[in-house]
């Protein structure tokens, strides 16, 4: 039981990191990014390839994962510079699919749909699986803490305020003399880096990655996490990630507790409960559990 809870908290931490990254791009800068899982995949593949093929040390691989995702984020931001709303969402969704398709077809590099297995983890093998879980729990949540403090400061800094201005009205921000594109590029870069870092950690935790693991479903979970937690507030991202995981896993036990339900019905019921609770949340609490305070103070 404890091992399971620890493993799920690791997943929650990874989701929280992704939600934090998305919060910079979507929450602060207002750019709907449904290509999240693409950046996540890039980070995962970059780190996995560098550590397994070139035998880089893991921390360098993680940094590289974040850097590659950040670079892709910058390029992405320039490409979508003139797109807003639904159009932006569609293009970013396409980006994630491109990453997945490249990963499944460029077999020389990514080993195709077979995926990459045997990715090293910190002290994996030298310690028991449970100790490894605990070590990783520490690493992931330390990363969440660092990202949270850093991004919360960013969000209250002049930079963060400009991003909010861009979100509310690009033209006004431009008229006020702010280089809108440059701010968007930096926001995309920063957010993608955090998501890429989460991807790198995921690869080393799971020891195995494959293109199928980077399907749009994960993006949806993270978008839901952020919506549930409250778009714009960094605390909301973390609360939302915990909530989504609680929902994903808690429904297992909830659905099983109903007598006379077969496993097949349970599987369907689970998906139903997840969907229903999110619909209810959006109906009765559209601003999320922890709404953003728009009047920002000078420091967090």
């Amino acid at each position: 039981m404890e091992a399971y809870l620890v493993a799920m908290l690791v997943f929650a931490g990874l989701y929280a990191l992704m939600a934090l990254g998305l919060n910079v791009i979507w929450g602060l800068a207002g750019m709907v990014n449904l290509g999240l899982v693409g950046f996540f995949g890039l980070g995962a593949y970059a780190s996995a390839l560098l550590t397994t093929k070139l035998l880089w040390p893991m921390p360098l691989g993680w940094a590289a994962g974040a850097a590659v995702a950040a670079a892709a984020g910058a390029v992405m931001a320039v490409i979508v510079a003139r797109l807003r709303g639904d159009y932006l969402a569609i293009v970013t969704l396409g980006f994630a699919e491109v990453i997945r398709l490249v990963a499944s077809n460029e077999i020389w590099l990514t080993n195709g749909t077979d995926g990459i297995s045997g990715i090293p983890g910190p002290w994996r093998g030298a310690v028991t699986p449970q100790q490894f879980n605990l070590i990783f729990l520490g690493i992931v949540w330390a990363a969440v803490a660092v990202a949270f403090v850093a991004l919360a400061r960013v969000s209250h800094s002049p930079f963060g305020r400009v991003l909010r201005a861009v979100r509310e009205d690009e033209d006004v921000a431009a008229v006020a003399g702010k280089p809108v594109l440059w701010f968007k590029v930096r926001a995309f870069c920063l957010g993608a880096a955090v998501v890429g870092f989460a991807g790198a950690l995921y690869a080393h935790y799971n020891a195995y990655i494959a293109p199928e693991g980077f399907a749009p479903l994960l993006t949806i979970y993270i978008v839901l996490a952020l919506t549930a937690g409250g778009v714009g507030a960094m605390r909301g991202a973390i609360v939302g990630a915990l909530l989504v995981l609680l929902l994903l896993e808690g429904t297992r036990f909830l659905a099983a507790a109903i007598p006379g339900v077969t496993p097949v019905q349970k599987a369907a019921l689970r998906e139903g409960i997840i969907a229903l609770s999110l619909i209810l949340l959006l109906r009765f609490r559209p601003q999320g559990l922890i709404p953003e305070r728009t009047r920002t103070r000078a420091s967090p």
Binding site: A3, Y208, A210, G250
Partner: protein, 401 residues
């Protein structure tokens, strides 16, 4: 608009309630001393059409074993989780089964990516994983003997298929492959087989499985002037390919895995398009007693090869635990080969198997999917293959060997 406030306290309360429900779950599972096996079939997602039957096969074998007295008096319980045909969800489901339900064997993973993702958890926690996934790479993992695969690997499947084509007189083949873990390895095997027989693979195209039009690919096939096209894809894309090949007037042999053409194809396409399509698949041993029992239990529903395999997964795990006198993962792993092959009394069901073991006799389980003998890597040996030809909306058996 009415405002419903979910304050921080309410959220906290909700979270606490959720966490408590975990604890309750843990306690309820702690009572008694049954042997617990975990099933991780795909109940939703791409594998959704297969998972429920796979699970039913497992549950029925366990019911039978419980009726026969269980494993040395201990009852057996199956806990199932849905792997959603997704590696991420599969890992979370496996974690729950291993850490919360404390299962001592996992069975019924379907998608190769799920199996590969779940496998490290199994060998780290020292419990066997019985799978129906076909990707070659799975049994090449450093699994310390914890993986048992009842599905012939893709290399064996393709080379058997190639032998069949050569027997049928095929010499020039065009290979259309959907992007998958076995596209390239299939091509390598085909080239090797055809070259050795004096034929050749005249064309090889890998396509994305979500494609909806294949005009240029079909043109390539027509230009290659082949006697056979090998449609190594999945149901949706092969359906489109068959239609386009028919329109283009292709009159050669069309050869495809059985999962790519089924009753749905006959409903979608007119008979003149599908007539003559040849399918092949690793066949359950339809003549075996184990298969007949499974068929009877399933009623009038057709038994797919995966259910036949999970039927054997459950039987192997139960008999191995009974033979070892110990239901730990390592004991089951070590006993599987002892009860699955060798000179022991041949049994095809758990009732007879448990009785023979209780009487101290050695057994050799012969399953619904085949004789279930495993090599040192955990791969299955000696599976039969079934070749069928589509004729007016139904399949006619050509060969079973």
């Amino acid at each position: 608009m009415t405002q419903t406030r979910i304050g921080r306290r309410a959220a906290l309360l909700g979270a606490a309630g959720g966490v408590t429900s975990f604890a309750i779950g843990g306690k309820a599972f702690g009572q008694g001393n049954p042997v617990v096996f975990g099933a991780l079939p795909p109940l939703t997602g791409a594998g959704g059409p297969y998972g429920p039957a796979m699970l039913r096969a497992i549950q029925q074998v366990v019911e039978e074993a419980n009726a026969a007295g269980g494993i040395r008096g201990r009852q057996i319980r199956v806990v199932a989780e849905d792997d959603q045909t997704n590696p991420d969800a599969g890992v979370r489901g496996a974690r729950k089964l291993i850490d919360v339900d404390r299962v001592t064997a996992l069975m019924g993973t379907w998608a190769s990516s799920v199996t590969t993702a779940v496998a490290p958890l199994c060998w780290e926690n020292r419990l066997p994983l019985f799978t129906v996934s076909g990707a070659d790479s799975i049994t090449l993992l450093p699994h310390q003997g914890f993986i048992f695969r009842t599905q012939p690997n893709s290399r064996l499947q393709i080379s058997t298929g190639a032998d069949f084509l050569l027997r049928q007189g095929s010499r020039r083949v065009f290979h259309m492959a959907a992007q998958s873990p076995f596209a390239q390895s299939s091509q390598d095997v085909l080239v090797e087989k055809f070259r050795a027989a004096g034929g050749q693979v005249a064309g090889y195209v890998v396509y994305e499985r979500d494609k909806t039009a294949f005009r240029s690919e079909v043109d390539q096939i027509m230009r290659a002037r082949v006697d056979t096209v090998f449609l190594n894809g999945y149901l949706p894309d092969v359906t489109i390919l068959l239609r386009e090949l028919f329109r283009a007037g292709f009159d050669g042999r069309r050869f495809t895995p059985a999962y790519a053409v089924n009753q749905n194809t006959f409903q979608t396409l007119p008979n003149e398009v599908t007539n003559g399509v040849i399918t092949w698949q690793p066949s359950p041993d339809v003549e075996s007693g184990a298969f007949r029992r499974l068929q009877t239990r399933f009623g009038n529903v057709e038994v797919d090869p995966y259910s036949a395999q999970t039927n054997d997964h459950a039987a192997l795990a139960i008999l191995a635990a009974a033979a070892a006198g110990d239901a730990t993962g390592v004991a089951i792993r070590d006993a599987v080969r002892r009860i699955a092959s060798g000179d022991g009394e041949k049994v095809d069901n758990v009732t007879d198997g448990l009785r023979a073991l209780a009487a101290g006799r050695a057994i050799n389980y012969e399953g619904a999917s085949g004789p279930v003998d495993f090599d040192e890597r955990g791969d299955i040996r000696g599976t039969k293959f079934r070749y069928e030809r589509a004729e007016n909306g139904r399949f006619a058996l050509m060969e079973l060997r």
